[in-house]
C-alpha cells in the first residue's frame, strides 16, 4: 500500500475530511451515502444501484477477504460474488483497509479499485460522518486521491461545481444495450427489464429453471411482448424513478395486460408511478442488510437487504389499484405493494440479497410459479 497518497473528502455543507488515499489517484464527485452492512463489499461495489454515489462504510474494516475471483460462477456463468461486470460506485470511504486473506481471493481491494479507476479514502471517522449524513440528509460531495495534499482553495472551487447525479437519467448508463438471452431449456420465458439489474436477480430467476430475456429499460411494450413472456420483472437501478419515463409508460401499459409483474426496488417505484402513485426522496436512504419488513397480510417479519434513496408515498397508493402489502418495521415506509386483482407485486427491498440475508429469496420461486399458472 502506498502510504504517501493523500486523500480528501468534501461535502456540500463544507465538511472537509482528510485521510489517506487508496485505489486510483483520481477525483470524483457524487452523492455521498452510507451503508451499514458489515460484509459483502464486492457485491456492494458492483451494484449498479450505487451508480455515481460515493459510499461510506460504517463497518470499520474493509478488504478482509480480498477480491474473489470473477470466475467463480453459477452454471449459467454468472459470477457468484459480483453484481455486475465492474465497480459502479464513484468513490469509497472507509476507516481501515485490511490486507486480504481468503482462498477465493484474487487480489486486494486496493488493487481492484486502482484497476477500475475508483478512488478511496481511508482513516476517516466513518461513524462521525454517518451521523452527519443522518442528521443533515444525503449530501453531494467530492473525493480526490493524489500525491500531493489538496489545497483548501481547490476544495472550495470543487464544492461550487457539484452536480446532483439524480438530475440525470442514471439508468441509461447501466442498462443493457441489446436484449440478452439466458436459456434454461424451459417453455417459460421471463422478460427482465434491466434498469441496472444486479446479477443476484438473474441468478435467482435462472435458478428457478425458466428462460430469461434481459431487455433495455427503454424497451417498448411491443418489444417485450414479442418474447411472449409468462412474467415480467422490472429490476433495481440507480437514481430517481421519475427519470425513467419510458419504463414507467411501458409498465403502465403492461399493467393493463394479465401478465404477472414483479418490481424490485426501483422496479417497485416504477410500478407505483405507473399505477398513478407517487414517490419522494428519503432523507438519507436505506442502505443496509438488516432491515425488517413486515408482511401486513401474515404478520411475518423478514430481514432484508436494502439500497434505495427514494420511496413510495403510502397515501399515494390508496388512489391506485395497488395496496400496501409490506411495511418497514423500523420507519414504517412502504416496502411492498400488491395489485388488488392482478398478479403484480413490487418489493422495495432486494429479495436477491447479495449482499445480505436469503430470507426472501422464496419470492422469486413464488413469482415464477404464479407466472407458470398464467
Amino acid at each position: 500500500m502506498d502510504d504517501s497518497r493523500a486523500a480528501v473528502l468534501a461535502l456540500e455543507d463544507g465538511t472537509v475530511l482528510r485521510g489517506k488515499g487508496f485505489g486510483a489517484p483520481t477525483d470524483v464527485s457524487g452523492e455521498v451515502v452510507f451503508n451499514t452492512s458489515m460484509i459483502g463489499y464486492p457485491e456492494l461495489l458492483t451494484d449498479p444501484s450505487y451508480f455515481r454515489q460515493i459510499v461510506v462504510m460504517t463497518y470499520p474494516i474493509l478488504g478482509s477477504y480480498g477480491v474473489p475471483s470473477f470466475s467463480i460462477s453459477d452454471k449459467h456463468g454468472i459470477p457468484l460474488h459480483y453484481e455486475s461486470d465492474s465497480i459502479k460506485i464513484k468513490g469509497y470511504v472507509i476507516h481501515t483497509l485490511s490486507n486480504p486473506s481468503h482462498w477465493s481471493s484474487d487480489e486486494g481491494l486496493d488493487e481492484w479499485l486502482t484497476e477500475e479507476n475508483v478512488p478511496g479514502i481511508r482513516g476517516l471517522d466513518t461513524r462521525a460522518l454517518t451521523r452527519r449524513i443522518r442528521s443533515k440528509g444525503t449530501m453531494l460531495g467530492f473525493l480526490k486521491v493524489s500525491e500531493a495534499s489538496v489545497t483548501d482553495e481547490e476544495v472550495a472551487v470543487r464544492l461550487q461545481k457539484l452536480v446532483d447525479p439524480n438530475e440525470d437519467d442514471l439508468v441509461r448508463s447501466v442498462t443493457t444495450a441489446e436484449p440478452i438471452h439466458y436459456v434454461n431449456n424451459s417453455d417459460s420465458t421471463l422478460v427482465l427489464v434491466d434498469c441496472g439489474v444486479k446479477y443476484g436477480i438473474l441468478r435467482n430467476l435462472l435458478e428457478t429453471g425458466v428462460n430469461v430475456v434481459r431487455v433495455p429499460y427503454d424497451s417498448s411494450v411491443d418489444d417485450i411482448l414479442e418474447f411472449e413472456p409468462s412474467g415480467i420483472v422490472i429490476s433495481n437501478g440507480p437514481g430517481d424513478p421519475k427519470k425513467c419515463r419510458t419504463t414507467i409508460e411501458t409498465a403502465s401499459r403492461l399493467l393493463q395486460t394479465d401478465i404477472p409483474i414483479l418490481g424490485i426496488c426501483l422496479g417497485m417505484q416504477i410500478l407505483a408511478l405507473a399505477a398513478g402513485g407517487d414517490t419522494y426522496k428519503l432523507k438519507f436512504g436505506h442502505r443496509a442488510v438488516n432491515h425488517p419488513c413486515l408482511d401486513l397480510k401474515t404478520g411475518r417479519c423478514y430481514i432484508t437487504t436494502q439500497n434505495h434513496g427514494y420511496s413510495v408515498i403510502p397515501s399515494s397508493i390508496d388512489q391506485t389499484q395497488f395496496e400496501v402489502r409490506f411495511l418497514n418495521a423500523n420507519d414504517k415506509t412502504v416496502e411492498g405493494i400488491q395489485h388488488k386483482n392482478k398478479k403484480a407485486v413490487g418489493v422495495q427491498w432486494h429479495p436477491e440479497s447479495s449482499p445480505g440475508p436469503y430470507d426472501t429469496q422464496f419470492l422469486f420461486e413464488q413469482f415464477v410459479r404464479e407466472s407458470m399458472k398464467g
Binding site: 460484509i39 460504517t58 481468503h102 482462498w103 443522518r134 443496509a288 411475518r300
Partner: protein, 1098 residues
C-alpha cells in the same frame, strides 16, 4: 402476545460458578426477571449462588437458596404453584434439572408449563444421537461418524469417512484414549488402545475437521417462526480449541458474504428443525479452503456466547428471549437502544469486538496448562475497538496478566519451543504467536502450525511494525498517534522510547492525541440512539455525545473473572452503583467483563466497556469530570489502582494512604503493633539471610505473604528453609514494588472474619463469620458459618473491639474485611482489606442489611449507624471446585485459593445449612451403606474417632493396610485395598474408577522424607482419580469432622425441621409451611431433611 393467565413463573438458576458456567447466567437470569416483572409476572428464582445479583430482593420477587435438584424444586413447585417454568437461563445445570423434572412427571403433576423451548427440543439438541439424526433428516451437514467395536470395523469406518479421523472413546472422561489418525497405521494403534480403555468396548470414528474455522451464530426465534441472527462470531483459534478458550471476534472477519449467509440460512434451518423458541447458539466448522461446513453443536439455551453477543452488539438477547418465552413475537418488541425501531432486526456493528479468555493454571498444583477441546478458562474479557489491532491489545491488558501483547522477550526462544507452542497450544498461545512472528517465522508458517487465519497474523505484524516504527522514528506526534490507533498503551510506548507513562500522557494531551467516546447502538448510527453504552477508541475524531457538567460518580468494576475475583464483586459493584443513584446524580460504571450484570447498559446511568487501567480511567475522568471514583467494591483490580489514581482524582471512601497502610503488609504490621493489637510474629523481608534467621527464631512453618494481592497469589506456607527461599522468590516476583512479609504460621487456630462498614467514626459489623476449616485454608476456599460455631463470647468481644479500633485508626470510610486467628482464647489479626470482600453478599443476604447500601452512604460522607447485623438461624457458605475440568490438578486446598465459586444455604442449625450447602455445591452426600475410603498421613490421626462414628452408623470403610491397622486398634473394621503403587487388586484406583467408593477422606501428608514422597504421589493419584470421576474428596481434617458429625446427626434425627427465613425485615423469619417439606421423605436414606426456605420475600 403474552400467554394468558401467566402470573407466576419459576426460573431455575445455574448454581455455583464453575468452569464453563460462570457469571453469564447471573446476567441472563437478571434479564429474564426484568422481562417478566415488567409484565406483572411474579418471579420465583431457585439458585444457591448467594453472590449473584439476580438473587437480590431488588431483582427476584422470591428466592430459594437451595440446591438445583429435582427434589428441592419439586417442593418449591408444590408450595408456590407457578404456572410456568423457565429453563433456558441457568445454563446446563438448569436445563438438566428441567429435563429430570419433566422425565419424572413432576412438571405434569403440578401443571407447570415449560416456557419457551420445549423439553422435546431441548432433548433433540442435547442428545448427540438424536441431534445427528435430526440434522441429517433435514439435510444439514454434521461431522461424519461411525461407531466401531473392533479394529476391522474401525478401519472400515475410516475408509468410509476419509482421513484424517479422530477416535473418541465411549464413556471416558477428559477425552482419555482419544487421538487423531491420518492413516491406517496410526488408526490401528489408536483404535486398539481406545477399545481397551472403553468400558463397553466401543469407539467412535469421526471426521476430523483439522484447523477448520470455528464460527458461531446467535439465533432468535419466536412462535410465529420469525427468526433473526443477533450476532455471528469467529474464533481466531480454529477447531480443536474450545470456543470458551479461544480468542473470538465479532463480527466474523474472514468470511465472504456467501459464507456468512450460507451459514446464516443453515442456522435458521437448524433452529427451525429443532423447534427452539427463544434463543440458541449454533457452532459451525467451516473449511478454510472451500465453502464446505458442518454443524457441530447447538446450545438450546442462553450461554456464555449469548452473553458475549449481547454485550458485543447491545442487543439484550436474554431479555428478548424471555419475552419470546412468554408468548411475544419479535416484531411486537422494541429495540431498547432506539425506543422506536423493532427488536426484529439484526444488529450492525461499526466496531470490532475481541473476547479473550483468562486461565488461572498457576493457582493449581501439578495442573497441565495445555488447552484443547475442553474449556479450562475461568474468565474472559471483551474489548471494543475500531480495528483488530486496537481491540486485541486492549483485551490482553484487560486480562490483567501484567503483560502486554508484545511483551514476549522472556518467553522460550528456541524455534523448537515456539513451534511446539503453536502446535500444542497452552495458556501462553497468543504470546507465542507474537513471539513467532517477532522471531522471523512467516505468516504462512505460523498459520500452518497454529491454524490461525493469516488475516489475524497480518494484524499482529502490523502491531509489531508499529513497535519498530516507534523505536526507529522516535517519539513524535505521528508515531505516538499511529501507536495509539494500533492500541499501544502509554506505558508500553513509554517503555519503547524510554519515557515514563506520565510523560507520554502529558505529551499526548499537549498534542491532542486523545481517544474519543463512541456509543454502541446496535445500528451503526443509522438511527438516533439514546444509548449510554460507551467505549473509547483512537479510531475516530469525534465524541458521540456531549459531556454535561453534573454530579457524577464513577464506580470501577472488578474486571476479568478469575480465581478469587468473581461474581461476588460484581454484586458489590452493582449494589454500590444502585445505592449511589440519586435523581440528579449520574453513576458511571467502568468494566470490561461480558459475564457480568454491571456491564448491562440498563443497570446504571452510563457504562464504559473499558480497561481498568490508570490510563483509561484517567481518559474517562478527563471527559466526564466526576466528583470522584469508587474503587473499593470491585475487588483487588480497582483497589490496586488507588496509588496511581489518587494523584489525579478524588478517591471516594477510605483514603489511598489508609489503603496503602492496609495493603502494604509491613506498614499494616507496624500499625497493629502501635495499636497494641495482637498478631502473629512477623518480619519484613530485607535479605534472604535475615529471613532465614527470623524463621529459625520463630520456628517453621512460616507464612510468606506479598502485598497488594488477592486470593492468596504467591502466598505460601514453608516448612523448611529451601522451601521458604523458593516461595520468597515467587512472592517477590508477584509484588515487585511492595514488601513481602514473613510471619509465623499458626497451626491449629480457628479462622474468623468480620465484614463491616465504617464512616470513620461509627462502625457497623455485618457479621462475624467462622471458618469450618482451621486457619491455613484460604478464606475463598473455606466453608464458613454465620453465626460462629466455636467462638466464645470473650473472643467475640475482642474481635469486635479490634475491628472497631482498626476501622477508626485507618479512618475507614466504606467497606472493610478483617481476618482473625483464634486459638486458646487468644485473638490475633492477620489481614485487613479496605474494600468489599467476597463474603459481603452472603453477609448482606443472611442479615438483611445490605452492606453496600451502608457503604454508599459512608463513601459519600454520610453517617451510618453503629451496630451489628442480626441473623436468625444458620447460614453456611461452601466453595465450589472445578478440579474435574483441569487435567492433573491436585484437588487440595491451601493458602492459595483454588475454588471457582460458592453457594450458601440456610437452616435452623449448622448441620442443616452445612449439608444443604454441600449438596448445592455438587458434593455427593453419602448415604448409609455407602463406601468411604479413608487414607491418612502419620500426623492426621484426628480422623480416627470420626471413622469410628461412620462405621458405627452403617457406612462401609475402605482403607490401605497401614490405615486399616490403626483403625482396627480402635475396633473399626475396614476393607483393605492395595495402594496405587502396589499395582495389585483389589486396588484403590479400581474401586474409585468403578464408582464403588462414594467419598474419599484423604488428609494429605507433608513432604518429609523419601518414603513420604511416594505416599504423596499415591495420595495425589487417589485424589485426582476421584476428582475425575466426580467423587467428593475431603482433604481437610476439620471439614471431615464437620461432615461426619452432620451425617450422623441427620441419620439420627427424624422429626420435621423448622426452616428459617432470611433477608427482609429483622423479624421476618418466614417460616414455611411444615407440610411443604414433603420431599424429605425421599431423601431419608441420605441426609434426612433439608429445609426449603425463601430468601427474599416481598
Amino acid at each position: 402476545m403474552k400467554i394468558k393467565g401467566l402470573d407466576k413463573v419459576i426460573i431455575i438458576g445455574s448454581g455455583a460458578i464453575k468452569i464453563g458456567e460462570a457469571g453469564e447466567f447471573d446476567y441472563s437470569t437478571s434479564q429474564a426477571i426484568k422481562a417478566l416483572r415488567e409484565e406483572g409476572i411474579e418471579t420465583i428464582v431457585v439458585n444457591p449462588n448467594i453472590a449473584t445479583i439476580h438473587t437480590d430482593k431488588k431483582f427476584a420477587d422470591k428466592v430459594y437458596s437451595v440446591p438445583i435438584r429435582k427434589e428441592f424444586v419439586e417442593e418449591i413447585l408444590a408450595k408456590e404453584r407457578p404456572q410456568g417454568i423457565l429453563l433456558g437461563f441457568g445454563g446446563q445445570t438448569a436445563l438438566n434439572c428441567g429435563m429430570e423434572l419433566a422425565e419424572s412427571g413432576i412438571l405434569e403433576k403440578y401443571a407447570v408449563q415449560v416456557l419457551g423451548t420445549s423439553i422435546n427440543s431441548i432433548e433433540m439438541a442435547d442428545n448427540r444421537e438424536l441431534f445427528k439424526t435430526t440434522m441429517v433428516a433435514n439435510g444439514i451437514p454434521v461431522p461424519k461418524s461411525r461407531k466401531a467395536s473392533d479394529l476391522a470395523s474401525a478401519l472400515e469406518a475410516a475408509r468410509q469417512i476419509g482421513y484424517p479421523v479422530i477416535v473418541r472413546v465411549a464413556y471416558t472422561l477428559g477425552g482419555q484414549g482419544s487421538g487423531v489418525a491420518f492413516d491406517d497405521g496410526k488408526l490401528k494403534e489408536i483404535a486398539q488402545r481406545g477399545l481397551a480403555y472403553s468400558r463397553i468396548q466401543q469407539i467412535l470414528v469421526e471426521e476430523y475437521l483439522d484447523k477448520w474455522k470455528e464460527v458461531e451464530y446467535e439465533v432468535m426465534r419466536d412462535h410465529d417462526d420469525n427468526c433473526t441472527i443477533v450476532c455471528n462470531m469467529e474464533n481466531m483459534d480454529p477447531m480443536g480449541i474450545h470456543t470458551g478458550d479461544s480468542i473470538v471476534v465479532a463480527p466474523s472477519q474472514t468470511l465472504t458474504n456467501r459464507e456468512y449467509n450460507i451459514l446464516r440460512t443453515t442456522a435458521q434451518r437448524v433452529i427451525r428443525a429443532l423447534g427452539i423458541i427463544g434463543e440458541c447458539n449454533i457452532q459451525f466448522a467451516l473449511d478454510p479452503r472451500s465453502e464446505q461446513f458442518r454443524v457441530i453443536e447447538v446450545n438450546s439455551r442462553l450461554s456464555r456466547s449469548s452473553a458475549l453477543a449481547s454485550k458485543a452488539t447491545g442487543y439484550p438477547i436474554a431479555y428478548i428471549a424471555a419475552k419470546l418465552s412468554i408468548g411475544y413475537a419479535l416484531p411486537e418488541l422494541a429495540n431498547r437502544m432506539t425506543g422506536v425501531t423493532t427488536a426484529c432486526f439484526e444488529p450492525s456493528l461499526d466496531y470490532i469486538v475481541v473476547k479473550a479468555p483468562r486461565w488461572d493454571f498457576r493457582k493449581f498444583r501439578r495442573v497441565s496448562n495445555e488447552i484443547g477441546t475442553q474449556m479450562k478458562s475461568v474468565g474472559e474479557v471483551m474489548a471494543i475497538g475500531r480495528c483488530f489491532e486496537e481491540a486485541i491489545q486492549k483485551a490482553i491488558r484487560m486480562l490483567d496478566l501484567r503483560r502486554e501483547l508484545t511483551d514476549v522477550d522472556d518467553l522460550g526462544r528456541s524455534w523448537r519451543r515456539i513451534k511446539r507452542e503453536l502446535q500444542e497450544p497452552t495458556d501462553q498461545r497468543v504470546f507465542y504467536v507474537v513471539k513467532a512472528l517477532k522471531s522471523g517465522f512467516t505468516v504462512d508458517e505460523v498459520s500452518k502450525l497454529s491454524g490461525i487465519d493469516p488475516w489475524f497474523l497480518d494484524k499482529f505484524l502490523n502491531i509489531l511494525r508499529g513497535e519498530t516504527e516507534l523505536k526507529q522514528r522516535g517519539f513524535c506526534k505521528e508515531t505516538v498517534g499511529e501507536s495509539k490507533i494500533l492500541g499501544f498503551s502509554d506505558r508500553k510506548i513509554g517503555r519503547l522510547v524510554r519515557r515514563s507513562e506520565e510523560d507520554v500522557r502529558q505529551f499526548r494531551k499537549t498534542e491532542h492525541i486523545i481517544p474519543c467516546t463512541k456509543q454502541i447502538d446496535t445500528l451503526a448510527a443509522e438511527w438516533p440512539a439514546n444509548t449510554n453504552y460507551l467505549y473509547l477508541t483512537y479510531g475516530g475524531t469525534e465524541d458521540d455525545l456531549p459531556f454535561v457538567d453534573q454530579d457524577k460518580v464513577v464506580v470501577l468494576g472488578s474486571g476479568c473473572y478469575r480465581i478469587g475475583s468473581s461474581v461476588e464483586f460484581d454484586w458489590c459493584c452493582v449494589n454500590m452503583g444502585l445505592a449511589l443513584r440519586k435523581p440528579r446524580r449520574q453513576v458511571i460504571m467502568v468494566n470490561c467483563n461480558p459475564e457480568t450484570v454491571s456491564t448491562d447498559f440498563d443497570v446504571l446511568d452510563k457504562l464504559y466497556f473499558e480497561e481498568l487501567t490508570i490510563e483509561r480511567i484517567l481518559d474517562i475522568i478527563d471527559k466526564e469530570k466526576p466528583k470522584g471514583v469508587v474503587l473499593s467494591v470491585g475487588g483487588q483490580t480497582p483497589n490496586n489502582l488507588a496509588p496511581g489514581l489518587a494523584q489525579h482524582v478524588t478517591i471516594l471512601g477510605t483514603s489511598p494512604v489508609s489503603i496503602d497502610t492496609a495493603e502494604d503488609r509491613s506498614k499494616f504490621g507496624l500499625l497493629l503493633d502501635r495499636l497494641g493489637i495482637d498478631q502473629p510474629e512477623w518480619s519484613k523481608l530485607e535479605t534472604l539471610e535475615g529471613a532465614a534467621k527470623f524463621a529459625d527464631k520463630i520456628g517453621y512453618p512460616v507464612l510468606i505473604r506479598p502485598s497488594y494481592v488477592l486470593s492468596g497469589a504467591a502466598m505460601n506456607v514453608a516448612f523448611d528453609e529451601p522451601q521458604m527461599i523458593q516461595y520468597i522468590r515467587e512472592a517477590s516476583r508477584i509484588s515487585k514494588e511492595y514488601p513481602v512479609v514473613i510471619s509465623k504460621f499458626v497451626t491449629g487456630a480457628r479462622e474468623v472474619e468480620a465484614d463491616g462498614v465504617s464512616d470513620g467514626e461509627n462502625v457497623f459489623i455485618g457479621a462475624v463469620i467462622e471458618h469450618v476449616e482451621n486457619a491455613g485454608v484460604h478464606s475463598g476456599d473455606a466453608t464458613m458459618s454465620i453465626p460462629t460455631i466455636t467462638i466464645k463470647e470473650g473472643s467475640r468481644e475482642r474481635i469486635m473491639d479490634y475491628a472497631r479500633r482498626i476501622a477508626k485508626a485507618l479512618v475507614i470510610k466504606g467497606p472493610f474485611n478483617i481476618q482473625f486467628l483464634v486459638k486458646n482464647g487468644e485473638v490475633q489479626v492477620i489481614e485487613c482489606n479496605l474494600r468489599a470482600s467476597r463474603s459481603m453478599p452472603f453477609v448482606s443476604k443472611m442479615t438483611g442489611t445490605n452492606l453496600m447500601d451502608l457503604a454508599a452512604k459512608a463513601i459519600m460522607g454520610e453517617k451510618i449507624p453503629d451496630g451489628e447485623g442480626k441473623a436468625t438461624g444458620f447460614g453456611v457458605k461452601a466453595p465450589q471446585f472445578s478440579f474435574t475440568r483441569l487435567d492433573k490438578a491436585d484437588p487440595v486446598t491451601g493458602v492459595e485459593m483454588v475454588s471457582t465459586g460458592e453457594v450458601a444455604c440456610f437452616g435452623d442449625n449448622f448441620q442443616d445449612a452445612f449439608i444443604t450447602a454441600l449438596i448445592a455445591s455438587n458434593f455427593y452426600v453419602p448415604r448409609r451403606g455407602d463406601s468411604v475410603l479413608i487414607t491418612m498421613g502419620k500426623t492426621r490421626r484426628g480422623i480416627i474417632p470420626y471413622a469410628k462414628m461412620l462405621a458405627e452408623n452403617g457406612y462401609r470403610i475402605y482403607s490401605t493396610r497401614h490405615t486399616a491397622e490403626e483403625l482396627s486398634e480402635v475396633g473399626i473394621e475396614s476393607t483393605i485395598l492395595y495402594k496405587v503403587r502396589e499395582k495389585k487388586s483389589p486396588n484403590i484406583l479400581d474401586y474409585i474408577t468403578s464408582g464403588r467408593i462414594k467419598l474419599v477422606i484423604n488428609i494429605p501428608s507433608h513432604e518429609e522424607d523419601a518414603e513420604s514422597r511416594l505416599v504423596l504421589r499415591d495420595e495425589y493419584v487417589i485424589r485426582r482419580r476421584a476428582a475425575e470421576f466426580g467423587i467428593p474428596v475431603v482433604t481437610n481434617l476439620e471439614l471431615a469432622q464437620a461432615l461426619v458429625r452432620s451425617l450422623i446427626s441427620y441419620n439420627r434425627n427424624a422429626g420435621p425441621l423448622t426452616p428459617a427465613g432470611h433477608e427482609g425485615p429483622p423479624t421476618g423469619s418466614q417460616r414455611s409451611d411444615p407440610s411443604a417439606t414433603s420431599h424429605i421423605a425421599k431423601l431419608r436414606s441420605g441426609p434426612s431433611r433439608i429445609p426449603v426456605t425463601a430468601l427474599a420475600e416481598g
